[in-house]
């Protein structure tokens, strides 16, 4: 008789259980939390925050978030769902990822159900270390020269490149290409590949910068628009060459000309307006001209503007009274390296005439690239207690931060020059810091800003020649001086 009862009991227990369960499910059933968020975040190096992760629970249970054990060593997960690095990753030190992290959301409902979210974190590079640079160095007696490659990260100086038995050389660069330019009565430009260390020694090509049957035109700089188009500024000529840096023959190198003849000073029998500097921004080429006469007196300085798409000069209408298209400046004598661009502005630095003592005409002026209006940012007379220092060049980091250096001649014990570095506000013209990084006792010959906004300063002190690299966030030297053998001058940066 028992088995029959058993059979009859089981179905009854099942029925009772089902009834009980049904009663619970409508009010007591637990569901695991849901977890959402970016599954493959990319985090900028030197930052902590990874992302925000959200956990929800349909049962309104309390949720506890946690990380897997391995991730706990590197990451912090707030209960708010904010995930962050414990230590900011440094891309340049190899903290690139991917970092695999599992976030678990566990509720406190019946059964403590949980959900996992697997995410993969990678770190993105931000340019925060100084670039590799190349510097032209010159013997103090102007008898010879050489080029050195500078690696600020490893603090290495590799010298002995492009040695010449003459000194009138300078450098230009575009991405990984370096152009070694021989100037007065040399008239030659040579291209090198600077990315591969092993190939830095071998010239890719070398071309003359003279037209047939012409005399020396003193090439000053090569300003690149792209890999296949650049402008060769020639200080001794009113013709700017348009060149193709990818040309494999000299016949294909020069592809056109820009004409600056209208700017030649009336008393300049060499037919040159002395174009000294150029910069390209927003598809336009800006060329600063000293406009010297035969006695090297600088006339009214002008900036000519060319459309790089059509290579035609743009009528700026900056001055209704003159008969040229360019922009007249108030400052006099823009030197080499006197043009820099930042956002929608072009900044021009002028030294004033070499024989003048008037500080007010040594200026930094700003050209508005929208309407070509010019305003003074500051002049050398704004430097407190300055009586004899003239502004040589400037760089602009942002609308609020820029640097310039001013130099003065000292006649004792022997003739030499001493330069000081200043921080200024390009918008207001206020000089913020004097003698940045303890400058003010040595000769400065060049300043340049790399893509990480480190300021490189060439110190042409023959007793301790070298390049200082200054962190513009702190205005202090980021490393010890990179020592060269000869006096350093123009610096260019190698950017891949």
């Amino acid at each position: 008789m028992l088995p029959k009862l058993k059979n009859k009991l089981l179905p009854l227990s099942l029925a009772i259980s089902a009834t009980l369960l049904t009663a619970c499910g409508s009010d007591d059933k637990n569901t695991a939390p849901e977890l959402t968020g970016d599954l493959m975040p990319v985090v900028a190096e030197n930052t902590l925050a990874v992302g925000q992760y959200t956990a929800t629970d349909v049962n309104n249970d309390n949720i506890t978030l946690s990380l897997n054990d391995a991730a706990n060593a590197l990451f912090t997960l707030e209960q708010s769902g904010a995930l962050s690095f414990k230590v900011a990753p440094d891309f340049d030190n190899g903290d690139t990822g991917p970092f695999n992290v599992t976030i678990t959301a566990t509720d406190d409902g019946k059964g403590a159900l949980s959900t996992e979210l697997a995410i993969s974190i990678t770190v993105g590079d931000v340019k925060d270390t100084p670039s590799v640079a190349v510097v032209q160095t010159i013997a103090p007696d102007y008898s010879n020269s050489e080029v050195a490659y500078l690696d600020a990260k490893s603090q290495q100086v590799a010298s002995g490149y492009y040695r010449k038995d003459a000194s009138d050389y300078t450098l230009s660069s575009y991405k990984g290409d370096v152009f070694h330019i021989g100037r007065f009565f040399i008239d030659e430009i040579t291209k090198y590949d600077a990315i591969e260390v092993a190939s830095r020694d071998s010239a890719i090509w070398s071309y003359s910068t003279n037209d047939p049957q012409d005399s020396t035109r003193n090439p000053y700089a090569l300003v690149s628009l792209s890999e296949t188009k650049a402008y060769l500024l020639r200080y001794g000529s009113s013709k700017v060459w348009i060149v193709n840096p990818q040309a494999s023959t000299s016949e294909d190198f020069k592809i056109g000309e820009l004409d600056l003849t209208s700017y030649v000073h009336a008393d300049n029998s060499n037919s040159t307006p002395s174009p000294a500097a150029a910069v390209i921004t927003d598809g336009k080429l800006y060329i600063a001209m000293q406009r010297q006469d035969d006695s090297y007196n600088a006339g009214t300085a002008y900036v000519a503007v060319f459309d790089t798409a059509t290579d035609t000069e743009i009528e700026t209408n900056a001055n209704a009274d003159d008969n040229v298209k360019g922009i007249p400046l108030v400052g006099v004598n823009p030197l080499e390296h006197s043009l820099v661009a930042n956002e929608d502005k072009v900044f021009v630095t002028t030294r004033n005439g070499y024989s003048s003592f008037d500080l007010s005409l040594s200026k930094i002026e700003e050209i508005n690239t929208g309407d070509y209006t010019v305003r003074q940012v500051l002049n050398a007379g704004d430097i407190v207690d300055n009586t004899a220092s003239f502004i040589k060049a400037s760089v602009v980091v942002s609308p609020e931060k820029g640097y310039f250096y001013a130099s003065q001649a000292i006649f004792t014990p022997t003739y030499h020059e001493v330069g000081s570095l200043y921080e200024f506000n390009p918008t207001t013209g206020e000089i913020l810091t004097v003698n940045v990084a303890d400058t003010g006792t040595e000769n400065i010959s060049f300043i340049g800003l790399d893509s990480a906004n480190f300021l490189w300063v060439s110190i042409a002190n023959p007793e301790l020649p070298g390049v200082d690299v200054i962190d513009t966030t702190t205005n202090t030297m980021s490393i010890d001086r990179l020592i060269t053998t000869l006096n350093p001058g123009t610096i260019r940066f190698i950017e891949e």
Partner: protein, 679 residues
């Protein structure tokens, strides 16, 4: 009573002038009296400097006159002397004695210091060899009297024969070389009159690798060099007279020359740049031979020199820049000589005034004096040398010694003439120099030891610049050097073979080397930048192996080290000199009439610049090597009676090396010279 140097000089000039005037008048009267050309008194106005030092040697006329060589070629064969030049006749020549720079060498012609006070330079080849009687060479020491130089002294004694001589010579050679010499000397009873002329021309159109050819700058092609011609006329008159105790010598030289300046970058046919020069130099030396006890003689001298250089820079028709430099130099001196027993005492005093003026134009307009362009200037230098030389000769031993002390007073000034408010800059300095030497030995073996403290005073250009972008330096110190030298000479004859062996070792410490230094803005000035230590060894051997065959071997080593606070110049070798030199010369008399000479020079370890860096295209050796060269010259000389023919082939194997301007030297050249004497 203390007299200022200026007044003292004026007085001396006046007295000398009056004395010389009287003597010239007397000479003129005597010359018109009947004289017999055959009855000639021996004339030796210029002292015979027997300084018995191994640092000193004399080359006589007969040693070099029959060759086709220039003065620089002759000096380049002397051990310890280096000659480097910019290729082409008429271009600058640099001389170095025992590692010195060219400015550290004093160049005298008949006792007159030729060194330019403005730039410190001198034209070594300004005197044709036909006009030279002898060449005195002194290393690290003065010749006779005066301030002690750092490098040494080259002194040219102009033509001064005692016999009647007539000579014509013609030479032709490579690259359009032409030369004509005419020389005549007439010996009278009391005086000898020599005059002559030299015409020299060369196209200098040797083949040159043009870096960027004019018609196609993309091509480097070899072309004959354009606008590099040279032409020169040189006239001279020398008159030497001796009447009783009076010796008088007058010399007068006039030079006119033109040199084209090539465009070495593109060899442009439009280039007409040129430098022309006119100079007139005359001098008077009077020697009174005393019969007063202890007083041997009194020597008076006066020189006057004017030079006008016009430099034209014209690369094309639209450019005509000129620089006109005029230099006037006057010199007067007195030197009595006393002998007491074995001691000779020669006090001396001489005064020199140099005036340099410049005038520059650009396309016909005078240059502006605006602090950038070079200003028109008048620079003046007045020097007074006062000193004494003591010589002592032992009467019992083959021992002699000498001591020379000199005080130099210098007054320099510079005025920018075309400045709005001309300002005058001035500097006054005093320098003293000394030398001491001992010699021991006879004709077979002679040993010398010498010490000298020499100086090279800054030139006017180094002191004041060009008043434009090249600045002056008020604090410029003179270059100073202390030198020790020990030398040994041995002469002997074994069988019929005579030979000479000599060696010299020297050590020199130089301070305050003056170098042009430039700032990043391109302005410059001369600055004392370094000191240097030199250690040198000269070895030479000459032997007359047979009556027909002579051999000469030479070697010269220099070890140099510069010290400087300038990183680029510290622990470097001196630039511009070969640190090793070897030469071998062979002369063989093929017959009574015909002789052949071959000499080979090997020069090694030349550094072109103070940084000791080299431009090189050698991918295997990026640092490059010091420059070397090996040059062989051949000459054939044929002489019969009054006729001689000389054939020279310089750089026989066409060796390629860099010249003074660090450009390829001109290569092989030949020259043929035909001479007739006693026409």
């Amino acid at each position: 009573m203390k007299i200022s140097p200026k007044k003292a000089m004026t007085k001396v000039k006046l007295v000398t002038f009056m004395v010389c005037s009287q003597l010239l008048f007397a000479k003129h009267v005597l010359a018109n009296s009947a004289e017999q050309a055959t009855d000639v008194e021996v004339i030796e106005v210029v002292s015979n400097h027997e300084f018995a030092s191994s640092n000193y040697q004399v080359l006589r006329r007969e040693d070099f006159i029959d060759s086709s060589q220039s003065l620089s070629d002759i000096l380049g064969q002397v051990n310890g002397i280096q000659i480097r030049q910019i290729s082409g006749i008429g271009n600058p020549v640099s001389i170095s004695i025992r590692g010195s720079s060219a400015k550290q060498v004093q160049f005298f012609i008949d006792g007159q210091l030729v060194n330019d006070s403005q730039f410190g330079s001198f034209d070594l080849n300004q005197i044709p060899t036909e006009q030279i009687e002898s060449i005195e060479i002194s290393k690290n020491q003065a010749i006779g009297t005066g301030s002690t130089p750092i490098g040494g002294v080259i002194r040219i004694n102009t033509y001064n024969p005692s016999d009647d001589t007539n000579k014509v010579s013609i030479a032709l050679g490579s690259f359009g070389y032409q030369e004509l010499n005419v020389l005549k000397n007439t010996a009278f009873k009391h005086h000898s009159l020599a005059f002559g002329g030299n015409y020299l021309a060369s196209d200098n159109d040797y083949d040159y690798l043009v870096p960027q050819s004019f018609d196609n700058p993309s091509q480097s092609i070899t072309q004959p060099l354009r606008n590099n011609a040279f032409e020169k006329i040189s006239l001279f008159v020398n008159d030497s007279a001796q009447i009783d105790q009076h010796q008088l010598r007058l010399n007068l030289t006039y030079n006119k020359q033109d040199k084209g300046l090539a465009n070495y970058q593109n060899n442009s046919p439009e280039n007409s740049s040129n430098i022309s020069m006119d100079s007139l130099r005359y001098g008077l030396q009077y020697n009174w031979l005393s019969n007063i006890e202890y007083l041997d003689s009194i020597e008076l001298e006066y020189y006057h020199d004017t030079k006008d250089e016009l430099y034209l820079n014209s690369q094309n028709d639209s450019q005509q820049n000129t620089n006109d430099y005029q230099t006037t130099k006057q010199h007067v001196g007195i030197k009595p000589s006393f002998t007491v027993s074995s001691l000779t005492f020669s006090p001396f005093a001489n005064a020199t005034q140099n005036i340099f003026t410049s005038f520059s134009t650009h396309n016909g307009k005078p240059n502006e004096c605006n602090g950038i362009s070079a200003c028109d200037i008048e620079a003046k230098q007045q020097q007074l040398n006062v000193g004494a030389r003591f010589s002592w000769q032992s009467k019992t031993l083959p021992l002699s010694s000498y001591l020379l002390a000199n005080q130099l007073f210098e007054d320099n000034s510079n005025v920018a003439l075309n400045q709005t408010s001309p300002s005058k800059e001035q500097s006054k300095e005093q320098y003293n120099t000394q030398e001491l030497g001992f010699n021991y030995g006879d004709n077979k073996l002679k040993t010398s030891i010498n010490w000298s403290q020499g100086v090279r005073t800054p030139t006017l250009y180094e002191l004041f610049g060009d008043r434009g972008a090249f600045k002056g330096n008020d604090n410029l110190l003179p270059e100073e050097a202390e030198t020790y030298a020990l030398s040994v000479k041995y002469h002997d004859t074994i069988s019929l073979m005579s030979f000479d062996v000599s060696s010299s070792v020297y050590q020199q410490s130089i301070e305050n080397s003056i170098v042009a230094i430039f700032n990043s803005s391109g302005t410059g000035s001369y600055t004392n930048v370094s000191s240097a230590e030199l250690l040198g060894l000269e070895l030479q051997m000459g032997s007359k192996i047979t009556s027909a065959l002579s051999v000469s071997l030479q070697a010269h080593w220099i070890d140099s080290d510069t010290q400087s606070e300038y990183v680029a110049f510290n622990n470097k070798k001196l630039p511009g000199i070969y640190h090793q030199q070897y030469s071998a010369a062979l002369s063989y008399q093929l017959s009574d009439a015909l002789a052949i000479k071959v000499n080979t020079n090997i020069d090694k370890e030349l550094y072109f610049n103070r940084s000791n860096q080299f431009e090189t295209n050698d991918e295997q050796n990026k640092t490059g090597n010091p420059a070397n060269r090996m040059v062989t010259d051949l000459s054939l000389h044929w002489r019969i009676k009054n006729y001689s023919i000389n054939f020279t082939c310089a750089n026989l194997f066409d060796e390629h090396y860099q010249d003074l301007a660090n450009r390829p030297a001109q290569g092989r050249s030949i020259q043929l010279k035909f001479s007739i004497e006693d026409i």
